[in-house]
């Protein structure tokens, strides 16, 4: 098999979806195992498969944060009851002090304000009035301090700090394992040309889908939250992993066997038939998301549906009549020629107002393409600037439009008619964008071909 055929095979594998067979699952886990060892980490032994990367992300972060808090609690617990009591009393004293200070300050302010008012009003009962205001202000001040408790703020900050640290640790472990996996200190090896070709062909899909997942702000589904919580509980309750000592020895031996010279030789050997399966699995594993942590590994299943188009030498996600990527648990991502777009745009389409209200300019452009420029011209109320006979294309005309509200910037739209009737039911009239400084439709058409307009005017025939 030549490299080209092999790359094509990897591409096909990458793009086929459906439930992962057990053999592939075992192979992926095996690779991660070897990567951990190569990265100098003990294999945690706990691998949890989740139905989508969003669950995986939530679960991995929550698990990492929970484990960190557990560890912190375990290391600070031995303080003993006396110490804990002292800490608690200290907290109460601090609380009372804060409230007390607030009450006193509020009372003084209240009294001062009331005194001023009493002077102005010249009230006989001014002393009683001042005392009443002082008491009221003091009560209000004390109450607001209690509710805006210093203690709950500190607790919030502590949780956030733990979470941030856990996420940092998780990212760091992931990077280490990924480096080990790519470093090819761990088989299966890949010829770097093959690697590059597969990456070129399939990389953009992975990047696009990754970006789409990252931009999903919250996990809305109750099911996913529940699954994430179950996962965390199982991780905490599971038995201890492999003892560290033996793992270190294994790691040392692996490093010895795959030292830099050996790795180089390994990397540059030709792809033998026996390796093809292994490499194909690696390509397959490329569309599996995983989170590595010293104490667990979370692996997400690949999508059950993946729709792509081939453009400019690589694949990109695209689908006009539904989600381009879909996972088993219902997570869906919609793409238009590689741009991630909201579900509503694909499922039902947008009005012109909806298009221009969206905050992302690439999505706005995709939305116009989906609507069709001709329809957009009509619905957005674009104005006809000029029309002229299309050279060499009698009896058809060229028409030039612009947006009176200048929502397209320095751009105008040229409407043309195809020189040959189309066999399918697609319209033969189409529109393309041209620079806004051109006033003559024929000049705009000539610009499209980068042809001098006087030459273009002499066009003899258009098919």
């Amino acid at each position: 098999m030549t490299v080209i055929d092999f790359v094509a095979q990897c591409r096909r594998r990458f793009l086929t979806c459906g439930p992962l067979p057990d053999r592939d699952r075992a192979a992926i886990v095996g690779q991660l195992h070897r990567a951990y060892l190569a990265a100098g980490l003990a294999w945690p032994g706990r691998v949890w498969w989740v139905p989508s990367p969003l669950v995986g992300d939530l679960a991995a972060r929550t698990a990492a944060a929970t484990l960190l808090r557990e560890r912190q609690r375990r290391t600070t617990a031995p303080a003993g009851r006396g110490r804990r009591a002292a800490v608690a009393v200290g907290a109460v004293v601090r609380e009372v002090y804060n409230v007390g200070v607030a009450v006193v300050i509020s009372a003084v302010c209240g009294a001062g304000g009331a005194a001023l008012l009493a002077v102005v009003v010249e009230d006989r009962q001014r002393v009683g009035f001042v005392v009443f205001c002082a008491v009221l202000a003091g009560l209000l001040g004390g109450a607001s301090t209690l509710t805006r408790s210093d203690r709950s703020q500190r607790a919030d900050a502590a949780v956030r700090a733990t979470h941030d640290r856990a996420v940092t640790d998780l990212d760091a472990t992931g990077r280490r394992v990924l480096a080990a996996l790519l470093d090819v200190g761990v088989p299966p090896p890949t010829d770097s040309t093959v690697d590059r070709q597969v990456e070129l062909a399939c990389g953009p899909v992975r990047t696009a889908v990754d970006a789409g997942l990252r931009s999903m702000a919250t996990v809305a589904s109750q099911n996913r939250r529940r699954r994430a919580t179950d996962l965390v509980r199982r991780i905490i309750d599971a038995p201890e992993p492999v003892t560290v000592a033996s793992a270190r020895v294994t790691a040392a031996l692996t490093r010895l066997a795959t030292g830099s010279a050996a790795a180089w030789r390994w990397r540059h050997r030709t792809v033998a038939v026996a390796d093809l399966d292994a490499v194909a699995t690696l390509a397959g594993a490329g569309h599996v998301w995983w989170w590595a942590h010293p104490e667990f590994v979370v692996v997400s299943e690949p999508p059950v549906e993946l729709h792509v188009e081939y453009a400019g030498g690589s694949y990109r996600p695209h689908r006009t009549d539904g989600p381009a990527v879909r996972w088993r648990d219902g997570l869906r991502l919609y793409f238009w020629h590689g741009t991630r777009v909201p579900a509503g745009l694909i499922e039902r389409g947008w009005t012109v107002d909806e298009i221009h209200r969206h905050h992302n300019s690439e999505v706005r452009r995709a939305a116009i393409e989906r609507m069709g420029w001709l329809t957009y011209i009509d619905r957005a109320g674009l104005r006809l600037v000029a029309s002229a006979p299309d050279p060499g294309n009698h009896p058809h005309e060229l028409r030039l439009y612009e947006d009176p509200r200048r929502r397209l910037g320095p751009t105008r739209v040229l409407v043309m008619t195809n020189g040959s009737p189309d066999g399918t039911d697609r319209p033969t009239v189409y529109a393309e964008t041209v620079p806004g400084h051109l006033d003559d439709p024929v000049e705009a058409a000539a610009w499209q071909y980068d042809c001098p307009v006087d030459v273009y005017r002499t066009l003899q025939r258009r098919t």
């Binding site: 081939y310 209200r357 300019s361 397209l408 964008t433 071909y449 273009y456 098919t463």
Partner: protein, 150 residues
């Protein structure tokens, strides 16, 4: 002279319904367009000095449309052994074409565009470009209700 049937047969394409298979393909030496491609005459001096290769019997795929799956093929016409082409991509330009005196070339499309006949001369083949448009964000405005005049 080629008919549509014989010209399209060079790329194994069936004649589209709107064309008469037995009509001769007109040979032209001025500018002509085939879909997104433009064959534009250029001065002989602007052709590159070297790199112009004879067009093989199987033709040259000038451009392949990935979205449509259609290709524009360049072929030499009848008794035209010296038609030369050089792929030279620069901006919209795809390459240069040399058709010696008394010979002809054909640009054949696998889709609906049929065939264009190219008479003797020196040409460049250009494709199309589009203006990148930054679609503006128009914030939502509340339009005051119009008063109807009774």
């Amino acid at each position: 002279m080629h008919t549509y049937a014989s010209a399209l047969a060079l790329s194994a394409v069936a004649v589209p319904a709107h064309l008469d298979a037995d009509i001769a393909v007109p040979l032209l030496s001025g500018p002509q367009a085939q879909g997104d491609l433009l064959v534009v005459p250029v001065p002989a001096g602007s052709l590159p000095a070297s790199g112009l290769e004879p067009v093989a019997a199987t033709g040259v795929a000038v451009v392949h449309g990935e979205a449509t799956g259609n290709t524009h093929w360049l072929h030499a016409g009848f008794d035209s052994p010296d038609v030369r082409w050089r792929g030279d991509v620069d901006g919209v330009r795809l390459g240069y074409l040399l058709v010696p005196g008394g010979q002809s070339a054909l640009l054949v499309h696998t889709g609906e565009h049929g065939a264009n006949g190219i008479a003797a001369g020196t040409y460049a083949i250009h494709r199309k470009r589009e203006q990148a448009v930054l679609v503006d964000h128009a914030p939502f405005t509340i339009v005051a209700p119009r008063l109807h005049e009774d």
